[in-house]
Symmetry: D2
Subunit: 151 residues, 4 copies
Amino acid sequence: MSEQSASYWNPSIPEAVRASFACQGAMSLIKASMPVVEQGRVEIHLPHWDGVGQQHGFVHGGVVGMIADSAGGYAAMTVAPEGSSVLSVEYKLNFLAPAKGTMLIARGSVIKAGRRLIITEAKVWAREGTEERLCAVMQQTIMAVSEPERA
Amino acid sequence: MSEQSASYWNPSIPEAVRASFACQGAMSLIKASMPVVEQGRVEIHLPHWDGVGQQHGFVHGGVVGMIADSAGGYAAMTVAPEGSSVLSVEYKLNFLAPAKGTMLIARGSVIKAGRRLIITEAKVWAREGTEERLCAVMQQTIMAVSEPERA
Amino acid sequence: MSEQSASYWNPSIPEAVRASFACQGAMSLIKASMPVVEQGRVEIHLPHWDGVGQQHGFVHGGVVGMIADSAGGYAAMTVAPEGSSVLSVEYKLNFLAPAKGTMLIARGSVIKAGRRLIITEAKVWAREGTEERLCAVMQQTIMAVSEPERA
Amino acid sequence: MSEQSASYWNPSIPEAVRASFACQGAMSLIKASMPVVEQGRVEIHLPHWDGVGQQHGFVHGGVVGMIADSAGGYAAMTVAPEGSSVLSVEYKLNFLAPAKGTMLIARGSVIKAGRRLIITEAKVWAREGTEERLCAVMQQTIMAVSEPERA
C-alpha cells in the first residue's frame, strides 16, 4: 500500500479474503486462484487455457478485466474497516499489449484507504517462461459498507 | 448510433461480427450469446447461472464487465472501416445496482465513429420477468487497425 | 434524470446550486456561467476566449474537463439528500472532436441517484452559429456527504 | 518511464515541449508552469491562489484535472515518434484528498509508449511547507498523430 498505512490489520483477514474468493463461482469457472494475500496487496493467477480465449488465441480482454477488478477489490478488502464489506463502485482499464503467455498475474494494491472509499490499482502481467510483460493497468474505486447499512 | 452516421455499411457485416463472436472461447464459457447485431449497435445476452456468480448470488462484476466490454467492441466493429479490425484500447465501467434477475442484457452502441478511434458506450440491464433494471454503464475507446498494420 | 426519480426535491435547490457555483473562483476565472438548473440536469456555458485556449486555437482540453466535471457535480447536487453536500469522487472523459466554435455547452445529467453515490454523465457541445457538435463525453461518480460527517 | 524505453530521444525535445506549453493560454490563465521536462516525465506546478479556488477554499477539482491531463499529455510528447504531435484521447481521474496547501505539483509519466498510443499516469500532490500529500491520480490515453495525417 503505497500512500497510507491501513488503520486496521488483523491476522484473520487473509483467511476471510480467501474464503470470499472461494465462494465466487466466476473465479472458479475461469480457473483463477489467489495465492498472495497481504496487507493492501493481493495477486490473482490465471492459467492460459482455451476457455478464456478470444479469436486470436490471446486471453479475452474481458477476462483480463475480471481478474484486474477482483485483484483491486480484494486488495481493498484487506484494509477495509472491521465489520464492513466492500463494493466495487467503478474501474477503468487500459489494455497495453495482447495477453499471451502461459499465465496471467493480476497484482492489485491499495493507493489510498479512506474510511469510506478505497482507491486501488491493478496491473496485469503476462508470464512466458521467466519473463513478464505488462498487458493491462486499472484504476478503481471501492466503497466500504458496514454490515448494518448493507442489510 | 446516436451522433454520427457510419461512413460504411455492408450487408455482410453482421455475419462477420457473429463469426468473430463465435470464435471467442470466453463468451462460450460464460454462455453469452449475441442475438442482435445492427449498424452501430449490438446486444449480448447472458443467462444468470451458477458459473457466473459471486459470493452473494449476483452475477460477478467481472462478468458484467466482460459483456459490457464485448458489447461496445462489437458495436464498434459494425462501423469500422472496411478491411480493418478493432482493438479495445480502454473502458470505464460504473456499477449501479447488483446484477440480479434471470438474465443480463448488455446493449452496446457507438457514440462517435472516427476513422481511427471509435467511442462507444454500453448499458447492462438485469431482466427479471418483464422488468429491466440498469445495473452498469460503460464508456469505451476502440481503435480500428488495418490488416496490413496488424501484421 | 433518465433512470430514477429523485426522492427529494425542493424549490430552493436551484438557488442553493447557483449560490455554490457563484463561490467558485475558478468558474469565474474561465468566464463560465450556469444558466440552466433543473432537477437532475444543469448546463454550464463557456464563451470561447483567448484565456481558455491551447496552442491550436481550440478550447484547452483541461477546460473542457473542468466544465464537464462541474456540470456533472452540480446535476448531482440537485438530487442529493437534504442536508448533504456532494464530493466528486472520480470522472472519466473522452475527447471526440476539437473544441472549436464560439461557445461550449456542458450538459450534465444524473444517470442514477442513490442515497450515497450519484452517477452522472456530461456531454460537451461546441456551438458555432446554430450548429452544435459533440466534443466530449464524461462519466462520473459523486458521493453525497451529510454535513455532520463532513465536519 | 517505468515500463519501456522510448525508441526516440533528441536533445531538442524539452525545448519543443516547453514551447508548446508556452502557447497555451489556459495554462497561463491559471498561472501554471512546467519546471521539469525529462524523457517520459514532466512536472507542472500551480500556486494556490484565489482564481483557481472553489467554494471551500481548496483548489477547484477541475483545475486539478487540467494540470493532471496536461502533465500526462506532455510526458507523452517527450516520447512521441519524431514528426508527430499528440492528442489526448481520454483520461480518468480519482480525487483522493482536498487540494489544499500552497502549491500543487502534477507529475506526469509514461507507462507504455507504443507507436500509435501512449499510456500515461499523473499524480497530483499538494505541498504545504516541506510536506506533500497525494490528492489525485489519473490514467490517460494519448494518440500520436503524424503531421501529414493531421493536415
